[in-house]
Symmetry: D2
Subunit: 360 residues, 4 copies
């Protein structure tokens, strides 16, 4: 529980502050012999990077990853993969006025109290800039999973009060990347974009929900008691900045149904495999994957930094009025889609490696 | 990620199948010198134990814990606390008809596939009987926390479609234990009890939501990136049997508000301390406790075992009709209240110990 | 680094004080489907148990292990294996005179300072009684290893100044169990027995060296940098009570040779496999097993408890004269042989499981 | 047991191959507020770096560390400290002839078998170049320890058959840095230097022994059972390249004495503190520090790369004659002195942080 590592066998340890020299990480436990597609990794980073559309912060970062170790002639060596991403477009002076102020719903106060000092520039370690490292590890995990037929699709299901009410199997998830808000439904996407633009114009921000679906996940992933598959997925999702909730399968809606309505009975598929007739379990039973699609929702609060004045305190306990400054996202959900996918990929790959030790 | 351990410094490792000789565990990292109140520990176990009311399974278990080590003259030694709880009232033959069947929404199929064999009696390791071990560790954590003024209250907020819409600070949480359903609102409690009795009569089951509140939590608990306080709390809650969702503070409802509406500005309290005016953050900012009340919801699905016939498959792939047998809970939420509290206590104590290393 | 767990995938967590109700442990990560030979496990415990010969303490313990979980119809379930061994023949009053005294070269002083209190009866947690738990885990690991052809033989190589100068491949290691001192050379064994009896008679104690040999170990075990195979073996051995040193292959003697003399060149074996001509590496190169026999030495100091009077201090800082009392071993090496083997088996099994994740 | 991390609270995770772009690491768990002396850190790196004298390899590396995170205005933030050290003077083509050959007593064969591929240039991950990362972490740990009065001195005690027979308290350990071989005895240092020069001239290599002494270590460090202080120190030392043995206090020599001769009785010091009269325990009793000087020996084999022709096999199983090429150390001990100190510092700091949780 060091706080900077995630995973058991396949493990990412990350470092870096938003306005330091670089962020980066070490990926351990990637089996040797995996052919890395560097274009794919960079494309994944581009899906998260700032400045990709007018819905995101204007901070310009190439987010070019430099791999320093663990790779030889394009293949993983089995040794740790060290990598860095240089910070380039820091406007650190934008934050001087925040040196002593505790921004509402930010980590300024809690970091200051926990550590006795903090890097106030751009949120320091609490900045979502750190999540670029997760994209790198997640992209490598996806390469591993893709070889094995596992597919992961996340998409924006809700922005503000605009909610896509369709089931994921009624959507073409390949459409997700066709619009800047990453919602696979064209009409809803257009509405969401308008809503975010309107919020931006008023100096405000929106939250929402991302749904993630994992297909062709092998049966048997997850550990029985404390590390149930959905518990670790929940941990992974709730470790992403601005998240407030996680639910799998029937989720919070489960309370509205009876056992007789919600139970997933087993049936034979056309190709004679074992499946469940319904999938309220969300692909996980007793904490272990059952081969059905895994799907879950992640709730994000609106971005805390708004372009409006707010009342708060400074470190001396004086009231201050904060004016919104700097470059920020009016809604993080579009950029969070690849982060959700990456964390999902890391969890699934880790459990697939761990599952190799389940039987003699 | 072994699956049987939880915690970093203060750590529980548990063992045991539902119908084996015993369940038990080892608690590591409890500081030396903690005076144990054995009556309190047993009372906590009694809050979870089966047969405590007509809303629960009729299985009779004393759930008497036997401590085997780590304690000397009533105080913790700093060495591991080993303990066992004997299984007594197993009706293992009740399960013979399930030897080959895959019960809907149970772990039979996933365990069989993961391990190649399973203990089919009473769910084996996947049984919620294991959670008694968490109560033991949680009770010890509560003793530690109580010494330091930290209080944890969980209660049943929703059963089926019956939802208590009041905020926790409008409730007298000390009333929770006054009724068998563990809802602090007397009227709502009566309705919930009726609903559970009705479900039981029809051979069906109900789910619901538990809310948990932690008061007087010190500022600075939680680790910045992957082990944010709410991520670890989410992990803890989602590791409890039958859980499908977790949300903290404004949770899934966050999407319906703008940043300007949801942000928690800092204010001075009457006794000149720093607090937030509102508490949509749920006591956690940037993954770290800010001293405000921590509150979160946990969603439970209805119990999978129902007293109705269900269609499913056996291990040979043949269709079978399952008849409900054995002794089961029509609704687990009342018994899950102390489990939620215990996992919360374990998380908070662990982070309090870890926080001792944050500064020079 | 909790101090009570050993291993990564295959992991033992132990608990228990010498004069408490019981010692025991939890074994995690044993693959499902391993057929357990309970007679074998008990025989291994008997090799360590007190009272087995006149060379050991007279404390009478059956050391009967009770398995509580993780096993079904004789096979491992993949779930944690909980077990306890009751303490029976405690003579706790033998230790009342030690309540305040700090015995020379014991852990009384360090435990008291570290924890602020201690269980002074029989050494509490610092007693070698804890090692019985290692035997249980080690015996299970041996069953796993034996299925795969891996063999582990430890034997007493030195007692006091009596040192067996032969190489292990010039000895019949199957003779080890033929005498009470566990030295495979009959003549040397007789001398060692006499030496121990003489020490016992004079109220004194002897140390010595145990050598351990592992045969047919697969190539590729051990992790490159910090968890080199010999580093983890060293850790394992130095965690056994009374050990003062560890050396592998040419060990401390390496300093007396040049690189040209010590290097192990690769050669082809008669059956066309790759081996090394010499084996100064002790079967480990770059921290990873190379398929050659692994052999290492473990140094034990003489038992600290002697039947002579000794000067020391009590907790108030007063000088006291301690008289030897209680039942103790004049030389622990014979009983330590199965402990050394058990820790070796645990390390090898753990690395064999971990190695399943090295390649795609 | 990932193999790339060391430590529990204060933890180093390292990455990097000898001839890759860079080596580096992440240091977690350093408390916030530690003032870093960057000159000191670089000086420590210089003590290890190649080319510092004619006794070492001629490879020229500045070994300049670039810190990327975790530091703000010269102080640690409590967040992970990421750092890299660029590789500059790689002569990778020197190794082309080794692409298929298995060098005697190197890790070529074991890596190839373990991972199915390897970076053959300069030993890849198995190169001791990785130890530069340990110096960085160790230097930071020393800064923490120095603030608290803990001092660590390692020195070369033996080179080839030349052994310094004096006790560490009969030496002035401040003299260690006065000569290139890092032996505090001037006469012995001169002999050792001559011996290494002679070995170098003949294309051969020498091993030896380093002794390390830690003074003013607080009482109570180390965990009771598996993570005894000397077990973790042993693990740390045996993880250093080319090590073959570890012994603490009376070590392997313990076998030559009786309990009555070796026991360390407690006495009062002049300033009324509790100490032991003798220190055969080496400062550790029951696995926990007792406040006396900690001292231990580490055995190093001669460097495996010699400038003489050697017979071995290639990956196809053909016999090949290897000619020594490249730039190598005739004796690694002088450069290993700061590595031994660094690993010791890391262990002690980690246990000091962990010890904060021992009592209420």
């Amino acid at each position: 529980m060091s706080g900077n590592s995630f995973g058991s066998i396949f493990k990412l340890t990350s470092f870096g502050e938003s306005h330091g020299a670089a962020i980066g990480g070490i990926i351990e436990g990637c089996p040797a012999g995996l052919l890395l597609d560097f274009d794919f990794i960079q494309k994944e980073l581009n899906r998260r990077k700032p400045g990709q559309s007018n819905l995101t912060t204007a901070r310009k970062e190439d987010d070019t990853v430099e791999f320093l170790s663990g790779i030889f002639e394009g293949q993983t060596l089995g040794t740790p993969i060290g990598f860095i991403i240089r910070n380039k477009d820091q406007h650190s002076t934008d934050y001087t006025h925040l040196k002593e102020a505790y921004r509402p719903s930010h980590a300024d106060f809690t970091y200051q109290q926990k550590y006795g000092l903090r890097d106030y520039r751009g949120g320091g370690r609490s900045s979502a800039r750190e999540t670029a490292c997760r994209i790198v590890a997640g992209a490598i995990a996806k390469l591993f999973l893709n070889q094995r037929g596992v597919q992961i699709h996340a998409f924006v299901k809700q922005v503000g009060t605009l909610k896509l009410e369709k089931n994921f199997d009624d959507l073409d998830l390949n459409n997700t990347e066709l619009n800047v808000v990453r919602c696979p439904d064209v009409d809803m996407a257009a509405q969401m974009i308008s809503a975010i633009e309107a919020a931006k114009k008023s100096g405000d921000t929106l939250g929402g929900i991302i749904q993630c679906v994992a297909l062709n996940v092998p049966v048997g992933l997850g550990e029985p008691v404390f590390d149930k598959l959905h518990a670790v997925l929940g941990h992974a999702m709730l470790s992403i900045n601005a998240t407030k909730g996680f639910e799998i399968g029937s989720g919070f809606n489960s309370a509205n149904f009876k056992g007789s309505e919600l139970n997933d009975g087993f049936v034979k598929t056309e190709d004679n495999k074992i499946a469940t007739g319904s999938n309220n379990s969300g692909g996980v039973q007793g904490g272990i994957s059952n081969g059905m699609p895994i799907y879950f929702n992640v709730a994000f609060k609106p971005v805390a930094t708004i372009m409006q004045s707010q009342n708060t305190l400074d470190s001396a306990g004086n009231s201050v009025v904060l004016e919104g400054k700097g470059r920020h996202d009016p809604c993080v959900l579009p950029r969070a889609v690849p982060i959700v996918e990456s964390m999902t990929a890391m969890v699934l790959m880790d459990f697939m490696l761990l599952a190799r030790t389940n039987q003699l």
